[in-house]
C-alpha cells in the first residue's frame, strides 16, 4: 500500500484546530486543551486488532502521560456511537473523537487521510502547551508504533525535561 500523505503541520507550526464529537452529546476542541501538551493519535478504525493493541497500550499509559500533564486524544473516522461502544468494551479512559462528518476532514487537515481506504493513517502528533506541533510520526498502517516516540517527544518539550519522578 502506498502512502501519499504529507504531514501538513510541520514541526514548529500551529496544529490545525478541530472541534469534534467526543461522545454522542459532547464535543472536544483543540482550543479547550490549550495550556497542556496534547498527544493526537490518528488511527484507522475502532475494533481492528492492531488499533486495539495500540489504543489499549496508550490506555495502560495514562499515568505516564499524566506525569507530563499531557492529554491524549484518539481520532478516527468512526462515529461517536461506535467510539462509545469501543471505549466501554475496552475500558478506555481517554477521549476518542469522531472525524465522521464531514468524513475525515480533520485527518485531511493534518495530512493523514488515506483516501484510497477512507480512513486515517496511523499517525502521532505531540503538541506543546501552545498547540505547536513538536513531533510527528506516521507508522506503516499495519504496525503499532508503540509509545516510546511519544514519551521521548514529551521529554523534549520546553520546560518538561526532568519531570521524570
Amino acid at each position: 500500500m502506498s502512502t501519499t500523505s504529507t504531514l501538513k503541520p510541520a514541526i514548529g507550526q500551529p496544529a490545525p484546530q478541530f472541534d469534534l464529537p467526543a461522545t454522542p452529546d459532547q464535543r472536544l476542541s483543540l482550543a479547550q486543551l490549550r495550556g497542556k501538551p496534547v498527544v493526537l493519535v490518528f488511527y484507522p478504525a475502532d475494533w481492528s486488532p492492531v488499533c486495539g493493541d495500540q489504543i489499549g497500550l496508550y490506555n495502560e499509559l495514562l499515568s505516564e502521560f499524566q506525569r507530563y500533564d499531557a492529554q491524549i486524544v484518539g481520532i478516527s473516522v468512526d462515529g461517536a456511537w461506535c467510539h462509545a461502544a469501543y471505549s466501554r468494551d475496552r475500558n478506555l479512559h481517554f477521549p476518542l473523537l469522531a472525524d465522521f462528518e464531514p468524513k475525515g476532514e480533520i485527518s485531511r487537515r493534518y495530512g493523514v487521510y488515506l483516501a484510497s481506504e477512507g480512513v486515517s493513517e496511523r499517525a502521532l502528533f505531540v503538541l506543546d502547551e501552545e498547540g505547536i506541533v513538536r513531533w510527528s510520526y506516521v507508522s506503516p498502517i499495519g504496525i503499532n508504533p508503540g509509545a516510546d516516540g511519544i514519551l521521548d517527544a514529551l521529554d523534549k518539550l520546553p520546560g518538561k525535561s526532568g519531570r521524570t519522578a
Partner: protein, 173 residues
C-alpha cells in the same frame, strides 16, 4: 525509535547469556496472544538449544487483563525461590484461572511458604514488575507478546516456523 535492548542482570533467562541469539519476550500472563505464543517459544527453544538465550519480561496490560499484574507478581515471588520458570509455565498453562485463589494454589505447588504468599498478595513484587513495564514502554513495546531479537523489536510473524527461519537466518549472518 530504535534502541538496542540488552539483557539485564536481573532478567529471567533460559539458555546461555552469551548465546549468539538473544530473544526477549515482553508478555502478559493473561493475554491470549501470549498464551498462543507460549508453545511456539517452547518449540523454538527446543530446536535451537544452547544457541538461543530466551528472556521473559513483564508487560501486564492491567486495564485489559485484571489478573495479569498479580500473576506477574507471583512469578517474581517464585523467582526468589528459584522457581520463576515453573511459575511462568504454570501461569501460561492455566491462563483462565489466574484469580488470587488459583495463584495461591500454584504458589503452594511450587513450595512457597506462608510468608512468601503473604508478601506476593501484599504487592511486595509490584515494583519489580513495574520496572519491566516502564522499560518496555521506553524500549518500544507496542503490545503483547512483543519480541526483541538481538536487541531489536521484531514485528513479523511469530509462529514457530517463522521464528526458526528468522533465528537461523540471523545466526547465519
Amino acid at each position: 525509535m530504535s534502541r538496542l535492548v540488552a539483557l539485564q542482570d536481573d532478567d529471567h533467562v533460559q539458555g546461555p547469556r552469551d548465546a549468539g541469539l538473544v530473544l526477549i519476550e515482553y508478555g502478559d500472563f493473561e493475554c491470549p496472544y501470549c498464551g498462543e505464543e507460549y508453545p511456539e517459544i517452547k518449540a523454538v527453544q527446543q530446536a535451537m538449544g544452547d544457541a538461543l538465550c530466551f528472556a521473559f519480561r513483564h508487560f501486564p496490560l492491567r486495564q485489559a487483563h485484571p489478573h495479569a499484574e498479580r500473576a506477574a507478581e507471583f512469578a517474581e515471588a517464585a523467582a526468589t525461590i528459584g522457581r520463576f520458570w515453573e511459575m511462568h509455565d504454570l501461569l501460561y498453562e492455566h491462563q483462565r484461572a489466574l484469580d488470587e485463589r488459583s495463584l495461591v494454589g500454584y504458589a503452594g505447588q511450587l513450595g512457597f511458604d506462608t510468608a512468601l504468599i503473604e508478601s506476593a498478595l501484599n504487592g511486595d513484587f509490584a515494583a519489580r514488575v513495574q520496572k519491566d513495564f516502564s522499560a518496555g514502554v521506553r524500549n518500544g513495546v507496542n503490545g503483547t507478546p512483543c519480541l526483541f531479537l538481538n536487541g531489536r523489536r521484531y514485528d513479523g510473524a511469530n509462529d514457530r516456523a517463522s521464528l526458526l527461519q528468522l533465528l537461523r537466518d540471523v545466526a547465519a549472518g
